[in-house]
């Protein structure tokens, strides 16, 4: 609310009588508003009774008996005494009685007869009370044009009110200008407080602090003292002085506790990573204003940051139930339930988040990127089976015993293979930890041919587990069954680690992107007490040559080391090539579920001879690998 204008009603002074009043009127009309006087007709002849009624009205105004004043003024008008000033006084009396609907009629009539700035001010006050602040601004702007005709207190009130109304419109620069002019007319701590706020909102932190610090808090009301502290807290927070900000907010909250201040305190404690205090204040804010969903959302995030995931989920679900347009909370709930190992609910929320894509107002590229990420989450969480098959052909006569199947081969010497993995429900995926049962069949080809070397056939069944949330590290235990005579019956304990620069598909709007992968595999054959190490790194650039087709020219280096090795079991090799990958089996929630990859590489390398410490032969040639994943 705008503070009341500090002026006496009407230009007529008490006890001076009608002649002085008439003289004052004449002076005002002739000296202050000559143009108006020229435009006006002389006041109509009035009866003596009408003059007396008007004087009684004026006297009533002086006594602040506005009801009586309005009656006298109306009676005077009815008796024929009608001029702009009596209308203005009647308007003021009605305004004072809070009968603004009637007052504006009188004041507009007065303003039409004589554009006196005081009528404009009264009209502004009326329209403000009638909840028409835009019209109030209009009249105050008109009053501003003839500000000098008003007394200093009235001038300050006009500027103060105008600043307030501009501020409510969001016109902070205009508000600040008006308030600065008001303060130039006289000190006023309440206006200074508003000016300080406007200066902060305009980004002038230095001046805002100066203005706020210059205010003596004792001259402010209790509520305004709290507001001043709020403002100082905002400035501190913006400048990174979080502890000072909290101190100011706590002082403000002690003066005038409010949900808004608890909320601000919660956020400030959150910034300082003081989770319990953040939760405490945000719980209070939420309790004081349960309908404010912004506070509820802040509380949910505070719970999440404090590790109280079930509470966070409860709060977020409550918010989404009340306002389904809070889109970020859908995926937030997905991640929370995933962290709570409630895979089915996590998938449900991720699917809802994917369904929200058409409602998302962000740029298409952002939406597509997020959708791809969510699809990957669903694919990981909802996955039950995955299968990989690979086939490697090497053109060299002497060739290493591994292909390019990555994790399927690795420590086990094999050029080709098939693996099926099963991820059981509930225990298969718990907070980024993955458990799988797998079975595989591996084999080699005869040199320079695609004839399966029957002696190399190797089968295995095992369990594997990803123990870390953020790192793609798997450990496994596998029973190997020899089918061919060169294969082995053994237990294989294994650790596999892989890292890639970014997800397979890059970002949806990218035409090309960097391609870096690292794969490391350590295996221990228990019965033979045999260690095997395998590592591979690729560096290239992936080009999206069609929506589902990716081409990746790259360089590659890989090495295998094996204790008690055969002639081709340990080697280091490197080369270059291209990967052509076709994605298929797209689903709404899981993206592309399968891919076929053709890897064409030319590699050269050396076999190791551990005993003699020297190479026992080099090799080079074309390596063709096909990989099917689904």
């Amino acid at each position: 609310m705008t503070p009341p204008l500090g002026r006496a009603p009407g230009p007529i002074r008490p006890r001076l009588g009608f002649f002085v009043w008439a003289l004052g009127l004449a002076v005002q009309l002739v000296c202050v508003s000559p143009a108006v006087v020229q435009a006006q007709r002389p006041p109509p002849p009035a009866t003596e009774r009408a003059e007396i009624l008007e004087r009684l009205g004026v006297a009533s105004l002086q006594r602040r008996d506005y009801e009586q004043a309005a009656r006298y003024f109306r009676a005077a008008i009815a008796a024929g005494r009608d001029h702009w000033q009596i209308r203005q006084n009647l308007g003021f009396a009605l305004l004072s009685l809070d009968r603004c609907e009637e007052a504006v009629g009188e004041l507009e009539l007065s303003a039409r007869q004589s554009p006196a700035p005081r009528s404009f001010v009264y009209l502004a006050r009326c329209y403000e009370r009638l909840k028409k602040p835009g019209v109030a601004i209009h009249w105050l702007q008109l009053a501003l044009l003839r500000l000098q005709e008003l007394g200093p207190t009235e001038q300050k009130d006009v500027l103060g009110s105008l600043g307030y109304l501009y501020s409510a419109e969001g016109q902070h620069a205009a508000a600040a200008e008006a308030w600065e002019r008001a303060l130039a007319l006289g000190d006023d701590p309440e206006i200074a407080l508003r000016l300080g706020r406007a200066q902060r909102l305009l980004g002038d932190a230095r001046r805002a602090r100066q203005t706020l610090m210059a205010i003596e808090p004792d001259r402010l009301s209790r509520a305004s003292r709290a507001v001043r502290l709020d403002e100082l807290a905002e400035l501190d927070r913006a400048e990174g002085r979080l502890t000072d900000s909290i101190a100011a907010l706590e002082e403000a909250n002690a003066l005038e506790p409010s949900a808004q201040r608890h909320h601000a305190l919660g956020l400030a404690f959150g910034d300082l990573k003081r989770r319990p205090e953040a939760v405490d204040h945000l719980e209070r804010a939420h309790a004081l204003a349960p309908d404010d969903l912004g506070y509820a959302v802040a509380l949910g995030y505070a719970y999440k940051d404090a590790g109280r995931l079930a509470d966070a989920a409860r709060v977020f679900e409550g918010v989404v139930a009340r306002d389904p347009d809070r889109l970020p909370l859908y995926q937030e709930l997905g991640y929370i339930y995933a962290a709570l190992s409630d895979t089915s609910r996590a998938v449900e929320w991720f699917k809802k988040a994917i369904d929200n894509a058409p409602r998302d107002p962000r740029p298409e590229s952002d939406i597509a990127e997020e959708r791809a990420r969510l699809q990957q989450e669903v694919a990981r969480l909802a996955k039950r089976f995955e299968a990989t098959a690979y086939l490697t052909y090497r053109s060299s006569q002497r060739q290493p015993s591994t292909g390019s199947g990555g994790a399927v081969g690795g420590t086990l010497p094999s050029q080709s293979g098939v693996e099926v993995a099963y991820q059981p429900p509930v225990i298969g995926f718990r907070d980024e930890r993955i458990f799988q049962v797998f079975a595989r069949l591996l084999w080699n080809f005869r040199p320079e041919s695609l004839d399966v070397d029957d002696h190399s056939l190797q089968a295995g069944v095992g369990l594997r587990y990803k123990p870390l949330r953020t790192q793609n590290l798997f450990v496994s235990a596998e029973r190997l069954f020899a089918i061919g005579r060169d294969a082995s019956d053994d237990w294989l304990l294994r650790a596999l680690y892989s890292w890639e620069h970014h997800p397979l598909l890059g970002k949806p709007d990218w035409s090309h992107w960097n391609y870096t992968t690292v794969f490391a595999d350590v295996g221990y054959f228990v019965e033979r007490s045999l260690w095997v190490l395998y590592g591979e790194a690729r560096q290239g650039v992936t080009f999206r040559i069609a929506n589902q087709v990716l081409l990746t020219p790259h360089v590659v280096v890989d090495a295998r080391y094996q204790d008690a090795r055969g002639p081709t079991d340990s080697f280091v090799e490197g080369g270059g090539g291209v990967s052509l990958r076709y994605l298929f089996g797209e689903s709404r929630y899981e993206g592309y579920r399968g891919s076929v990859e053709l890897l064409i590489q030319y590699k050269a390398g050396d076999f190791f001879n551990r005993q003699r410490g020297a190479s026992d032969g080099s090799f080079h040639g074309l390596v063709l690998t096909g990989v099917l994943r689904f």
């Binding site: 303003a111 039409r112 554009p115 835009g134 209009h138 008109l142 501003l144 419109e169 969903l293």
Partner: protein, 339 residues
């Protein structure tokens, strides 16, 4: 400060005009160019004869333009829809056919959500999501309507049903969401019917100063491909008074002119009753309506103002008071001004 002087003049003009339109007495009094039709469930039971009667009265009033406020209201469609639930006798085709016959034009409203006013008063991020929903709904309705409207020469363009006022969109983020919504929707409906013009309506609660209101609309009209800005005079709903309405009319006019768009003023021919249970209104007295029309005509583009709404408040079909308003208008604005 000198920049304020035009507003001063407008202010005094407002006060002067609010007292009467005597100065306009020398020229033929302006007329309403057309009317809104606000479709409801009840219209789903109207026979063709009922529509013919209504259009007969519209013809008597010399209405040239019909604005169908919406063709879908929540899940109810006023045309044969496969996605929504059509009323028993969808009236849109009849309206277009009668307009064809009477050489009138029809602007067709898109989808309207009854929860609009409550759902825009939220956090701007969620309002943006809501507006995206509205966009999808209106686009879907427009796609369904295209085959129907293409058969009628009376079809003139689209009307976006969301009414834009000056209290809700002060926040920069909310404003950006609104502009984005209008930009996207106008682009897509233009693509569906390239020759059709697009209109949107707005009003002022006098929440912002006229200059601020005008600047807001200038930005909006520059941001979105809107041909016609339909300004609701707000007098019937008590949002505006005749005394200060010209301030906002002038601001709207300047905004449209600056952006190179057309301004069409909507004259509210009702008087809203003070009833907390919901919207209730009665036909307005003719002298007030006459002053509204005179003001609106000063600022409207060549086509002239349209009423909200003749079918509800200004035909003998809606009772004695509506008939009184109808007759007074005919006497004053039709008979007195030969075609």
């Amino acid at each position: 400060m000198p920049a304020l002087w035009p507003w001063l003049w407008i202010g005094f003009a407002a006060v002067a005009l609010s007292g009467g339109a005597a100065s306009l007495a020398q020229t033929p009094p302006p007329r309403l160019h057309g009317t809104f039709i606000q479709l409801s469930q009840a219209h789903g039971a109207w026979s063709e004869e009922s529509w013919r009667r209504l259009f007969g009265y519209l013809a008597q009033l010399r209405s040239r333009e019909i604005v169908v406020q919406w063709t879908a209201y929540d899940d109810t469609a006023f045309y044969p829809s496969t996605r929504l639930s059509p009323v028993a006798q969808p009236p849109l085709e009849t309206i277009l056919t009668l307009a064809d016959e009477l050489d009138m034009t029809v602007r067709v409203g898109l989808a309207h959500d009854s929860a609009f006013w409550s759902r825009i008063n939220r956090d701007p991020a969620t309002v943006a999501v809501y507006l995206r929903d509205l966009q999808a709904r209106s686009e879907s309705v427009a796609r369904e309507l295209v085959p129907l409207i293409q058969r009628h020469r009376s079809f003139r363009g689209w009307y976006i049903t969301e009414e834009i006022e000056d209290a809700t969109w002060k926040d920069e983020r909310a404003r950006a969401a609104l502009f984005d919504y209008l930009r996207r929707l106008t682009l897509s409906v233009r693509a569906l019917a390239p020759g059709a013009s697009v209109a949107v309506s707005g009003f002022s609660n006098a929440e912002t100063a006229p200059a601020t209101f005008g600047a807001f609309w200038t930005s909006l009209l520059r941001a979105a491909s809107i041909d016609v800005f339909m300004f609701q005079d707000g007098v019937g709903a008590g949002k505006q008074r005749l005394s200060f309405l010209p301030l906002y009319l002038a601001a709207a006019h300047e905004a449209a002119q600056t952006a190179g768009r057309e301004l069409q003023v909507i004259v509210e021919v009702f008087q809203q009753l003070n009833d907390p249970s919901g919207f209730k209104a009665v036909p307005a007295p003719f002298d007030r309506v006459a002053r509204q029309i005179d003001l609106a005509a000063m600022y409207s583009s060549t086509r002239g103002p349209v009423a909200f709404s003749i079918p509800d408040y200004m035909t003998p079909l809606r009772g004695v008071e509506a008939e009184r308003l109808f007759q007074a208008y005919v006497r004053s604005r039709v008979t007195a001004k030969p075609d």
